[in-house]
């Protein structure tokens, strides 16, 4: 086993397993919080984007385009370094909170666009049909539109969640302790790049694999319910 030890020093990685476990936990926690927040705001964004009042949908469209056309790193810098410099009360949030805010602001438009596409994917005839058989607007929404929209929305939402998890790695640049931060800490303490960064990559790939499994399960479930509906 010596040749293996000389290529990749597992012993040192095992010494740092607690750091990486903490990093993975933080990454998943931060992503989960951002996911929930951006889903909630995303629904509002989607509804506002569909509004016919230009005073509502124009600012929202500007927000969406602004976020999509600028790098996440700049958005993080704007919120982490920029905002405290102009606010009178300065920096009252720590790195993690700022990171969560920045990531939520970044992810919300993407979620909103996915939800909007899901709502628009339901054929108008479905709504008209439901209304014409005497369903109320609320019944149409809950019994006809939403079940179809959710089935269309969930796969891209899971894809966006995988992107969100990867995006949390950028928070390490503003010293948030998550998975990438764990790798950086190991590197700064041991100065062995291979073990630190390859372990980080493997951990991210493990999370990604988990996401693939979950998405497969969800898709089977949604497919199953759609099949039953027929």
């Amino acid at each position: 086993m010596d040749w293996l030890q000389s290529i990749f020093n597992f012993r040192i990685v095992f010494q740092y397993w607690e750091v990486f476990a903490q990093g993975i936990t933080n990454t998943i926690l931060i992503s989960a919080i951002c996911l929930v927040l951006s889903l909630i705001f995303g629904i509002f964004i989607a509804l506002a984007r569909r509004s016919s009042n230009p005073l509502i949908w124009r600012p929202v469209a500007v927000y969406i385009q602004a976020i999509r056309s600028t790098p996440l790193l700049i958005q993080i810098y704007l919120i982490y370094y920029g905002l405290p410099s102009i606010l009178p009360f300065g920096n009252f949030l720590d790195e993690t909170q700022t990171g969560i805010i920045a990531l939520t602001i970044h992810t919300t438009p993407y979620m909103g666009e996915i939800i909007r596409a899901g709502l628009e994917s339901v054929d108008r005839g479905q709504i008209e049909g439901a209304l014409s058989v005497g369903m109320s607007r609320k019944q149409t929404m809950t019994n006809v539109v939403l079940p179809q929209a959710i089935a269309n929305v969930v796969p891209p939402l899971l894809g966006q969640t995988a992107v969100l998890i990867k995006d949390t790695s950028l928070l390490s640049i503003i010293a948030v302790f998550e998975l990438m931060g764990a790798g950086l800490r190991m590197f700064s303490e041991t100065v062995i790049a291979t073990e630190s960064y390859v372990t980080t990559a493997v951990c991210y790939l493990a999370i990604y694999a988990m996401m693939l499994v979950i998405s497969g399960m969800v898709q089977r479930k949604l497919g199953g319910s759609a099949w039953q509906a027929n």
Binding site: S85, A193, A201
Partner: protein, 229 residues
Amino acid sequence: MEWFAHKWGIIDQLSPFMLQGLWITFKISIIAIFFGSTLGFVLGVLKTLQIYSLEKLINTYLHILRGSPYLVQLYIIYFVFPSFDIEWLNFDSFTAAVVSLSLYTSSYVTEIVASAIFAVPSGQSEAARSTGMTKAQSYRYIVLPQALKMTIPPMASVYVIVIKSTAVLSVIGIAELTRQGEVAIMRMPGDIMFIYSLIAVFYFLYCYPVLRFSKWAETRFGTLGIDLE
């Protein structure tokens, strides 16, 4: 009014550095999209040949690149590769940036090219084969021309992803737009918000037209129904 003059002074003072940063961002993104598209095109075509082991191999490659953050890939190529003791893997920061960004781009392009080829109705290649074309000829003259047209809108989105990813390169010291902004802030620490907003505006002016083009191209060439990002 004084505020305005002050800010204008900053713009006036910084614009040469910003434009230089923008030039490096442009240069790296163009090189990366060129090599990434070439590699992605080859892999995408190989993926559609329906050779089982090859397909598995390419899928593994895609999963590794899509499953890990770009930042980690950059660190691995810049910090880990030199430790292999192979002379040509000892990249300087610019080469590391270009190589990592090209590989990252290729993961998107492979998927786009493969799904565009699959989107061409199978009757097209069957008809081509039945008129006596070889498989290579049917790809060259029938399938690829139709498929490549469909790749135009998603390729524009990929280019935007590449431009946005170049911001990450500032962490290994490439003097692109973001890095120039950080340097500018060291010189004038009083205007953090303004300088970062300025950089954001530069990125916006660069990316937004490409996004609009992608949107327009979708109406012109159709969508493939794959979501990027």
